[in-house]
């Protein structure tokens, strides 16, 4: 199954709204889904291609909103599921019931970007040391206390 | 049973190494290994044809180089750039990018690797080119040299 076939398959079979679906390379395809039905899409992927291997979840501060990208390997094709989370809402629901390995990567998203994962079984701090000041998200481009994170080790 | 005699294979290697083989050791302080000629050791900066363009400063991943450049007006009206370069060599990670980016070839790497110092101030280097060759090279050109 090459990436373009996978994208057509998703477009035809998936009944939810797709904000983005294209396959720039033979083995790489990007699919976009609105914030609400990330769980629905995850369920769809797992039903179609069995226990899918979730490589990692990337967070990316795009100014207005934060991109949360789930990198799956489905049927030999690298499927990247992009979900835009508006900074005002700052919430996304978890996919751990469907893909348990996501638990670790979701905690990293909360740590680094402050996106609260709804229904996460173990929402503790993951990456940073215990004495890291609350509310300071290092990988966010805007303010949220970046300077003070900077100067205490300047 | 063959697995039982595995010990014998190792024992033979050990005996051979004990009796016959010469130790594979470089007696460091007395015999010193000369590194291959591509080895990146101590950085050597010759200020002769450096134009203080700052390309090296921009590409250095560890912010080792600090280029200070001023254009001053001599009494007889001729303009001249003058300045100096500071190297914090204790930050240098020997990646060779500055030598690769520098257009004038004024930064080179020698193969000398014995650089241990007792305190960090000995690593600082400050060089001042007497006359800066004014062949201006624009800083933000598009292509990695």
């Amino acid at each position: 199954m090459t990436a373009p076939e996978l994208v057509e398959y998703i477009q035809s079979h998936y009944d939810g709204e797709l904000t983005e679906a294209e396959a720039p390379l033979a083995h790489d395809c990007w699919v976009g889904v609105p914030r609400e039905d990330v769980q629905k899409m995850a369920q769809f992927i797992v039903d179609e291609w069995g226990p899918v291997h979730l490589s990692t979840i990337t967070g990316n501060d795009r100014g207005g909103h934060i991109d949360v990208i789930y990198h799956f390997v489905a049927d030999g094709v690298s499927l990247n599921l992009r979900v835009g989370v508006d900074k005002a809402i700052d919430e996304i629901d978890t996919i751990t019931p469907v893909v348990p390995a996501a638990i670790m990567y979701e905690r990293e998203i909360t740590d680094m970007f402050g996106v609260i994962i709804v229904g996460h079984p173990d929402p503790r701090r993951l990456v940073l040391p215990e004495d890291w000041p609350e509310g300071d998200y290092p990988l966010r481009k805007d303010d949220t206390g970046d300077e003070e994170g900077e100067e205490n080790n300047g | 049973m063959a697995r039982k005699f595995g010990i014998a294979a190792m024992a033979m290697e050990l005996m051979e190494s004990l009796l016959v083989r010469k130790p594979a050791t470089v007696m460091y302080p007395v015999e010193r290994l000369t590194p291959p000629e591509r080895f990146r050791g101590k950085m050597v900066y010759d200020p002769s044809d450096c134009s203080l363009c700052g390309l090296c400063q921009r590409d250095c991943p560890a912010d080792v180089i600090k280029v200070v450049r001023k254009r001053i007006e001599r009494e007889d009206g001729t303009k001249e750039t003058v300045g100096h370069v500071e190297f914090e060599m204790d930050r240098c990670i020997f990646c060779g990018q500055c030598a690769y980016s520098c257009h004038q070839g004024s930064i080179t790497f020698s193969t000398e690797f014995e650089l241990a110092q007792a305190d960090r101030k000995d690593f600082m280097m400050r060089e001042e080119p007497e006359q800066v060759n004014d062949e201006e090279c624009d800083l933000d050109e598009d292509v990695v040299p």
Partner: protein
């Protein structure tokens, strides 16, 4: 004996790197294992998005001292994929050479450390003595024993001249012979076998489920190799088998790694034969057009994933690194539980942990001294198993 919980603290001879393994032990039997790392988290992702692409190559290289070339390969491939930049073919072959050189160096290093963990000092000494051969080749070719700075954006920095090629062939043949010798030492040396056979078992389903990757997965009979699944550089033109073994234990991993050293030697000789003439690097634009890319590379420990996103300037907007050791961690804890204290170092070392990679990104939280009921890693593993 009372249930004793004892930490192998950040500072421990068996662990070349700081991580805190907390074990609760019943006599000599390990009942529960937990891990806390994050002592090596150097905020590389944040620094990557503050430096331009040229500098990031060297930053990504220093994520890990052993698989430094794998990281530069992945980063350069991702950035070149965004810029749709085709690097000259000779450069691709030289990059593959460096990739396989480092595989030999990393696997030989691991074999020596495995001998050290088990108290077999002579194997440690002999394997590391032979490893110096590959270190000399790397130093001759790239100019440094560790972080080679050979792979740069747009190709490769140095060329492989002819007399270097002959030296490489000699060194690789010598190493190939030694690798075979170590393969039958590992299978016949009785005391080494006692410590390695049947230790740190990981069944095939568990390896699949816990997402183990690289030699750990292949030693549990899962034939998955990124060089075959997502071929990059010129790996289609080179033939090499995917080495698996159904032993599912530390001995299986040892054999898979030693056989991979032999395959790497063959790949190197094939690369040297098929390498076309031509220049070795093209001028890479300083500003990378907007775009993003996910690239997978078969590092020595498993599948290494890079996600790079650029916004048109010469500074990347986001660099995400997922290292193979992280994927192998749940599997490693699974191996430790039920084993002996004496097996902890060798079972844990069998996944060839590289915490400077893993920490760069993630800490697995542990149960602090009070036994609170929050989800510890083993519970998560159980959760995923009986899903």
């Amino acid at each position: 004996m009372a249930k004793l919980s004892f930490p192998i603290g950040p500072q421990h001879p068996a662990l070349k790197e700081p991580e805190n393994l907390r074990f609760s032990v019943d006599g000599e039997l390990v009942v529960d294992a937990d891990i806390r790392i994050g002592y090596v988290h150097r905020s590389i992702e944040r620094s990557c998005s503050e430096r331009n692409f040229v500098q990031d190559v060297y930053l990504c290289e220093r994520v890990c001292g052993i698989c430094s070339n794998a990281h530069t390969q992945a980063f350069c491939l991702a950035v070149e994929q965004i810029a749709e930049f085709e690097i000259p073919e000779r450069a691709q072959w030289i990059r593959m050479l460096m990739h396989e050189f480092e595989r030999i160096h990393s696997h030989l290093l691991w074999l020596g450390v495995a001998g050290h963990e088990v108290g077999f000092e002579s194997l440690f000494m002999y394997v590391w003595r032979d490893r110096e051969v590959i270190q000399d080749i790397l130093e001759m070719v790239s100019g440094n024993r560790g972080h080679y700075a050979m792979t740069i954006l747009g190709g490769v920095r140095y060329d492989i001249t002819d007399e270097m090629a002959t030296k490489i062939r000699e060194g690789v043949d010598f190493l190939r012979g030694r690798a075979e010798y170590y393969a039958d030492i590992a299978t016949s040396e009785q005391t080494f076998l006692d410590r390695v056979e049947g230790v740190g078992g990981l069944s095939t389903e568990l390896a699949h489920e816990l997402g183990a990757c690289g030699p750990v997965q292949r030693a549990s009979n899962v034939a998955y190799d990124v060089r075959r699944a997502f071929p990059y550089l010129q790996y289609e033109k080179v033939d090499f088998p995917i080495r698996t073994s159904e032993l599912c234990d530390v001995l299986g991993r040892t054999l898979v790694r030693v056989q991979e050293v032999i395959d790497a030697c063959d790949i190197i000789t094939q690369c040297l034969d098929m390498m076309p003439e031509g220049d070795i690097n093209a001028r890479f634009p300083r500003r990378v057009p907007e775009g993003e890319a996910t690239v997978r590379v078969e590092a020595q420990r498993g599948e290494l994933i890079y996600y790079v996103r650029s916004n048109g300037t010469d500074v990347p907007e986001r660099v995400k690194i997922r290292t193979p050791t992280l994927a192998n961690l749940p599997a490693s804890l699974e191996m430790l539980i039920g084993g002996q204290i004496a097996d902890i170092p060798i079972a844990f070392a069998s996944i060839d942990p590289c915490f400077s990679c893993t920490d760069r990104m993630v800490v697995l939280d542990d149960v602090n001294s009070g036994d609170t009921e929050t989800m510890t890693w083993p519970e998560l593993v159980k959760l995923s198993r009986n899903r």
